[in-house]
């Protein structure tokens, strides 16, 4: 029984526990503990992984002549770490208080835990798969587990989950087509056979494989133009479920791309694959898809008035950074892209937890209906503050390190336009997250929210923990870069020379310890000056005077509606919802075809059949001679 078998067995036990458990409180606590044990089992494998030695599983099947086996590689380990961390945090958050509240409002926390456990099991199976068949089977299981999690709330969420499902099954079928093509070419579904088959492929076939595999995985990841399902589906998932989905679920698509396109096929192969009649290569295509994925969803997030939709749109956008970094193919960029996966998971989860805490207390996530909660929910505010600094990619949080690496890589590899795209994305992110925190926590407190208290400890502790991780990995990014180096080695990419505070190489250096310490030192000096000065006086927010009136609590002075009017007005002509229009056009065509098919079975006159038969018979006769 290898450590990997132990891990998989533990996750299955967790799933069985969630299925059979009755008592809600103990269920939540037990499952959280079990996820923690799984995390420890994962860390137990860390030494082997650090040296790049994969941990195999003792289980293998032989079905219809196909071998299926599993192994934990450094890439799998990295993603599994994020998965289990997110699972621990979400399960902790969902137990006790939140679970009771959810059950009181008609939801089923038991179903949420079951769905979460299904997701964890299927994701672990996906990450550890060591052949194409196992990859596909677990890919489908992951898709359906995500559907279960999204649909578990019932009501309007089911509609968006069904929307997701169509995309997911289409992506799965694309991957299946790619796998079938590999099988037909080589007669085997092992990774080695796949790599061997690629060497003799023509450009057209290689494009086909890129589109099938890339497209299939891109659906899950939410790359443009296959991103329309993600925001609404993730936003409507109940509280911790959306945190889990936003943190890691879409990154499974990135895992697929990394495994198949980067590790097995190799970026060099796509660098030589030219788009016909243009000077662009397949890598350029991927890079620009990533760039547009950064820009467009970020500015869509800017326009959202629902906090959870805003965060979900940001989740789509940040995926673009990850792909952009990896596609650059150098040590800096790929390290940045991979680290961004980890970083994003941490602050996205923290942000979703914070928003869910606000929803728990106030009952709404509408940004136009909130404000001033910093005085009542300071811990949630701090978590959100740390989260948005991370999301915006500013020091001292970890988001800054990964974005810095990506910017450096873009400049060094000579892609000024992509660099500008990335910076525009960051600008949009900063504006958007400021809107989030301002409309929610800053400004004027509403009368109906006067009595609100902070969220209970079962919800704030995960938040605090995640914020601490965000800050700690920003201060000491070497802790994360240490795990990324074996991944880079496995993927065949150049390895970053990391240090505890960042990296140090011929391509420049970054030392976050120095940066953060000087920042904190600056804040410390500022704080000393502020508090020692003694000139400050504590005043009530409404003890103020504006426009000839004294302010009162009943009147709304909160600036929240139409937060960036000038920017929205400027960007309005560019945002015509073109992708929505494209999708609805395709759906209309399908409905037309469907009505036609129904008409055939209902009322088409048989004489038309005879005409068609005569035409076919004439063609056959003509073809026969």
């Amino acid at each position: 029984m290898t450590p990997l078998d132990a891990l998989l067995a533990l996750s299955l036990v967790t799933l069985l526990l969630t299925l059979s458990c009755r008592h809600q409180v103990w269920c939540g606590v037990l499952t959280t503990l079990l996820y923690g044990v799984q995390l420890m089992a994962l860390l137990f494998m860390s030494t082997s992984i650090h040296y790049g030695v994969p941990v195999p599983s003792g289980v293998h099947f032989n079905v219809l002549g196909f071998e299926m086996h599993w192994a934990m590689t450094p890439l799998a380990w990295f993603f599994a770490l994020i998965t289990l961390g997110a699972a621990v945090a979400s399960s902790w958050y969902a137990s006790t208080s939140w679970g009771r509240h959810y059950a009181a409002t008609g939801g089923s926390p038991g179903l949420l835990q079951v769905a979460l456990a299904c997701n964890v099991v299927s994701m672990l199976l996906l990450l550890c798969s060591a052949d194409l068949l196992g990859l596909f089977i677990s890919w489908e299981l992951v898709s359906w587990a995500s559907f279960l999690l999204m649909a578990s709330a019932g009501g309007a969420a089911v509609r968006h989950a069904l929307h997701y499902l169509v995309y997911a099954v289409a992506g799965g079928m694309a991957v299946l087509a790619g796998i079938a093509l590999v099988y037909v070419a080589t007669g085997s579904l092992s990774f080695d056979a796949f790599v061997a088959s690629l060497s003799g492929l023509s450009a057209g076939r290689l494009w086909l494989l890129l589109l099938l595999f890339g497209g299939g995985f891109a659906v899950k990841m939410g790359l443009l133009p296959l991103h329309l399902w993600q925001a609404r589906a993730y936003a409507d998932t109940p509280g911790p479920g959306s945190a889990f989905l936003g943190a890691i679920s879409s990154r499974m698509g990135l895992f697929g791309i990394l495994l198949v396109l980067v590790q097995l096929a190799g970026l060099a192969r796509f660098a030589g694959l030219v788009l016909p009649l243009t000077p662009f290569t397949a890598l350029d295509l991927l890079a620009w898809v990533a760039a547009f994925t950064i820009i467009l969803p970020t500015f869509t997030a800017l326009r959202q008035t629902d906090a959870r939709r805003l965060l979900a749109w940001h989740g789509i956008g940040q995926g673009g950074y990850m792909l952009l970094g990896v596609v650059m193919g150098d040590a800096l960029g790929s390290a940045g892209g991979l680290m961004h996966v980890f970083n994003h998971a941490t602050y996205q989860a923290a942000l979703f937890f914070s928003v869910s805490a606000v929803v728990y207390r106030t009952g709404t996530s509408d940004l136009d209906q909130l404000g001033g909660l910093v005085t009542r929910m300071p811990i949630s505010f701090t978590a959100m503050l740390i989260g948005i600094i991370g999301l915006a990619g500013l020091p001292p949080m970890n988001g800054f390190v990964s974005k810095w690496l990506i910017y450096q890589s873009l400049i060094r590899e000579g892609h000024p336009l992509l660099f500008i795209a990335a910076v525009i994305g960051t600008l949009g992110t900063i504006l958007s997250v400021y809107k989030l925190i301002h409309n929610m926590f800053l400004g004027q407190l509403r009368v109906e929210h006067e009595h609100i208290r902070e969220a209970p400890w079962s919800m704030t502790l995960p938040m605090i923990l995640l914020s601490a991780v965000v800050f700690a990995t920003g201060y000491l990014p070497g802790l994360v870069l240490r795990w990324i180096a074996p991944v880079q080695r496995e993927l065949g990419l150049p390895v970053l020379d990391y240090t505890l505070g960042g990296y140090q190489s011929t391509a420049g250096s970054l030392d976050m310890i120095w940066v953060v310490t000087s920042m904190l030192g600056g804040f410390a000096i500022g704080a000393v000056l502020f508090y020692a000065g003694g000139r400050a006086r504590r005043v009530h927010q409404l003890d103020n005077y504006a426009g000839g009136h004294f302010l009162d609590a009943a009147t709304r002075y909160q600036y929240s509606y139409n937060f960036y009017p000038a920017l929205t007005r400027l960007a309005a002509p560019l945002y015509r919802d073109s992708f929505q229009w494209l999708e609805s056009a395709l759906v209309s065509m399908l409905q037309l075809a469907s009505a036609g098919a129904q008409g055939i079975y209902r009322s088409v006159h048989p004489s038309l059949y005879l005409l068609a038969a005569a035409v076919i018979a004439w063609l056959v006769w003509g073809g026969g001679h």
Partner: protein, 485 residues
């Protein structure tokens, strides 16, 4: 070894003796049909070990082929014969009936006879006669119940079916004129005489004739109406069982007699058209029964595509899809019997009977082709076999099949979402449909166990398909001393 002949003769005898038996004893009349079907299953199980080495060739009445009619019992034939017995037993339509019980039982026994004959026969005209017997009994079953809608739908079915039968007869006439024989083995020897345009036309006519029951594209316009108007059990029998047996005729002819590539191309094109129109029509369907009917058109289209692939790989893939469909579709129709009707009447069903809803989800997942359920493996076999041909036509067919899977997932998930929607007052179910749910649950359990024992089942099926696709051994088994002209 007369067991296979008894499998044909016993239901026929029972059918004609049923009214008398029922007059003598009502209890015997109620149970004799299912008992005979159990007997058929036992006979099949008895005969199965004898088929491991070589198929059985039974000459009827001792008249040797090619003049006499011969029953060619290979593994595929016995598999389908037992499948018929099991399927009709589980879907026995006469449990709930009172006034028409005898008539429906008689018609069902005739149907069982006819379909067993379709599976076992080795003579072309015998296949035609059994096909017609199956058709007539299915007309009777579809029109049973006395409603005008059932009558009108059956009329439409009969018009198309008679048209098809006449075409099939003309096709058989053309075959006889070209070769002078109707024995399948001798036709296989003389298949060069049918390699030209006359043979192709004969194939098309026989295809259209047999294709009526097999829900082939142009001649399947009757399907949604008949399935919508008839009893759901009858629809399950027609969709799940009879269609596969009609398909079997075409498979035998393709393997043995009509080996020209144009025949395979025509089957491919018609199969693809069936997939497209069936799945698209199901997408917008408003009631569950017609949605399942159009979905079965789509699935049969996939089977046509699979069987159009030459070689044992095609037969293997087609058999896998056919057997999987034979398990899943009747179970779905039984669940539709419980819930049947508009999709808007489905909410609350999962609250009332969570087991039935879970069965529906499992069966639907397997139908779409989600691993690790058997439906995925069947579809994977079709996709790989088709892509292995390497032509753009087959690649296009694969793209259509995968796109159809997406559409299928879309509407089946929509139905599942309706099932799991919570309502304050779930509709209570008919007491008589509880048996239907039990059978559906058994089918789901069979599906799960098929998933667990996939490797041995797959190997066994591969051997069956290889035996069925082996033309030379067919000829050799029927004529061990060579063919006498």
């Amino acid at each position: 070894m007369n067991a296979p002949v008894l499998m044909f003769a016993l239901p026929l005898l029972t059918a004609f003796l049923l009214p008398v038996i029922d007059r003598l004893s009502g209890l015997a009349g109620r149970w004799i049909g299912p008992l005979v079907l159990v007997g058929n299953l036992l006979l099949g199980a008895l005969a199965w070990p004898h088929l491991q080495d070589a198929p059985l060739v039974l000459a009827m009445g001792g008249f040797r082929p090619p003049l006499g009619i011969v029953f060619y019992v290979d593994r595929m034939a016995m598999l389908f014969a037992m499948g018929v017995a099991l399927g009709v037993l589980l879907l026995w339509p006469a449990w709930a009936q009172d006034k028409d019980r005898v008539r429906i039982s008689t018609l069902t026994m005739v149907l069982v006879t006819a379909t067993t004959g379709l599976a076992l026969s080795g003579d072309l005209f015998n296949l035609f006669v059994c096909y017609e017997l199956a058709a007539i009994s299915s007309y009777g079953l579809a029109a049973a119940g006395g409603s005008a809608a059932a009558g009108a739908a059956t009329l439409r079915y009969m018009v198309i079916s008679s048209f098809g039968s006449a075409l099939m007869l003309i096709g058989i006439a053309l075959v006889y004129q070209a070769t002078g024989t109707l024995n399948l083995a001798q036709l296989a020897v003389l298949s060069d005489a049918l390699a030209g345009p006359q043979g192709l036309i004969a194939f098309i006519f026989i295809l259209l004739g047999a294709g009526v029951k097999a829900e082939l594209f142009p001649v399947n316009a009757w399907v949604p109406e008949v399935y919508g108007a008839a009893a759901q059990r009858v629809a399950g029998i027609l969709a799940g069982i009879v269609s596969k047996l009609a398909l079997l005729i075409i498979v035998r002819l393709l393997v043995l007699v009509f080996r020209q590539p144009e025949a395979q191309q025509i089957l491919l094109v018609l199969g693809v058209l069936g997939v497209i129109t069936g799945e698209l029509a199901a997408w917008r369907a408003q009631d569950l029964t017609r949605m399942l009917a159009c979905s079965s058109i789509g699935q049969l289209g996939v089977m046509f595509v699979a069987f159009s692939i030459p070689g044992p790989a095609g037969v293997f893939a087609g058999l896998a899809v056919a057997l999987h469909h034979m398990l899943v579709k009747p179970a779905l129709f039984l669940l539709a019997e419980r819930w049947g009707g508009a999709l808007t009447r489905l909410p609350g069903a999962a609250q009332k009977s969570p087991l039935a809803a879970a069965c529906f989800v499992l069966l639907a997942l397997s139908l779409v082709g989600i691993p690790p359920l058997p439906g995925f493996w069947a579809k994977f076999l079709v996709v790989t076999a088709a892509l292995g041909q390497g032509t753009p036509a087959y690649a296009g067919a694969v793209a259509v099949i995968l796109a159809a899977a997406v559409i299928e997932a879309s509407y089946l998930a929509r139905v599942a979402a309706h099932l799991y929607r919570r309502v304050t007052q779930p509709l209570s179910a008919n007491r008589q449909t509880r048996a239907a749910v039990t059978v559906a649950t058994c089918a789901s359990a069979a599906l799960v166990s098929a998933t667990l024992w996939l490797a041995p089942l797959g190997n066994s099926l591969q051997v069956t398909a290889a035996q069925a696709a082996d033309r030379d051994s067919y000829i050799h088994n029927v004529f061990p001393q060579g063919v006498q002209p």
